[in-house]
Symmetry: C2
Subunit: 320 residues, 2 copies
Amino acid sequence: MKEFDEYLAMVNQAIANLRLPERPAGLYDPIRYTLDCGGKRLRPVLALAACHAMGKEPMTAVHQAIAIEMFHNFTLLHDDVMDNADVRRGRPTVHKRWNMETAILSGDAMLTTSTMLLAIKAGEHLASALDLFNGTAMNVYEGQQYDMDFENRLDVTVEEYMEMIRLKTSVLLGCACGMGALMADADFDSQLQFFNYGVNLGLAFQLQDDYLDTYGNPETFGKAIGGDILNDKKTWLLIMALKEDEKGIVKSLIGKNDNPEEKIEKIRGVYDSLGLPDRIHELIRAYIDSAIACLDQINMQPEARSFFIDLALKSATRNK
Amino acid sequence: MKEFDEYLAMVNQAIANLRLPERPAGLYDPIRYTLDCGGKRLRPVLALAACHAMGKEPMTAVHQAIAIEMFHNFTLLHDDVMDNADVRRGRPTVHKRWNMETAILSGDAMLTTSTMLLAIKAGEHLASALDLFNGTAMNVYEGQQYDMDFENRLDVTVEEYMEMIRLKTSVLLGCACGMGALMADADFDSQLQFFNYGVNLGLAFQLQDDYLDTYGNPETFGKAIGGDILNDKKTWLLIMALKEDEKGIVKSLIGKNDNPEEKIEKIRGVYDSLGLPDRIHELIRAYIDSAIACLDQINMQPEARSFFIDLALKSATRNK
């Protein structure tokens, strides 16, 4: 196995080597801009590492890895239009920098391009890779739809929330891991365990995201703290508080943004009084444990297993 | 060979048999609504007929045929958002009936679903079918981008316009014909000639669309006449008039909509004085002849050839 940053370098090189057409510039420039955004590149790294762990050169899965990264960036682009978000990773979003039409059309082109990348050197795995990729994509759209549906509801259950984040964010990490194993000719059970590892990792990752949005250090987190609270976003924290806060403080503050700082402070106070910071970390730890348990079902070298265990443990304790 | 309406019945049955998930309704209801729109179903019929003409049962290509129809409807859905169109085939567009977010997300799901359909029973042709389909999709996006770029230009040339409509609308008809031939195990040259037949048919079809928008009978055409003129749309007619109208009447009317009826009448007067109605029909006839010439390069039964010749001749003389 290699270090995370070595797989990352392979991914970044492959993205830099992509030769998109120059014209029409209005279609392809926004795609270059979006891919050039930085980002953790967690998904393609997982794909290369899973492929390597299953005994093949990591670059065997490189086209499928960047197909998944392209897909991920496409979803961010279209999500930003739907959320009317102004900024993504410190830069104007595509629909702000260009316009809404450009953002929709360039996103469509990214989705088709991701399928084209997926097919490159897929060989005998093409049909399976497409099934995994397309099925995952449909899950992501379903998750996004549930997320939008939840905006108008106060009765979202924890089970509904966990299913939404499983669909919207976790299955794509599962897909990345499973895709790497598939491209390494791994048996179906190993692909499935890698998929499940990724899903559990994704759930832990999203819950940590929810935690950091309210409790993170603004300097390391990279964006303002409390955004989810001000947007009344139905996160695990808010859903638990709506359910358990007997005084109805949280419910009374939903939809009220005349005093943002006070709202954040009051709602965080409820979270604290219910012990939610500790309880979300117990839950995160449970998903990390489940992720690691999946690894035990896969026949691989100890150093490969360590790579994925370390990654899981780090994602549970990350501060950005 | 069968009649057009018999292939159409197969297509409509296959679309009716599609089993999309029920939930989340916000994602899947707009897809059902869009597919239920009617429409000519020209592309999937071409795919089944080309497959049949090449000696296989038409239903051999049915999944690929409805994949292309699904893709076509996806492009209409997203185009309507980009154009902020209120009505499509006599019904509210998805973003009017629901909202912009729903229209974007449901469209994305239709694009992924079209790729899933394409893969069903594609067998050994999967890689080729995907190449043809994805390459065509990229062309369609490029054409849409050029079309949007042209809105801000008065110096669009006829060559640029023909390339734009080739990309935006014609290659998808070529793709449908080529896909049918591919699924029938036809040799590559026959696939290519079928593709070229479809492209030429598509160019004739679009030019006839341009003609009908200005010169059609409102009762048979199904929408108000003169919409392209009022939108200053860079059609073949407008581009030719901008180039040849020495008095500058057309140019002086661009962007002015205070008297719509007079604008339509004046610009149509210029078209008439330049003989454009006759000249566009000469051009349409030339593309139809090119389409028919492609058929001569394909080894098929006379009744199969007649089917495609009739279709081409009808599309050049259609009034709706």
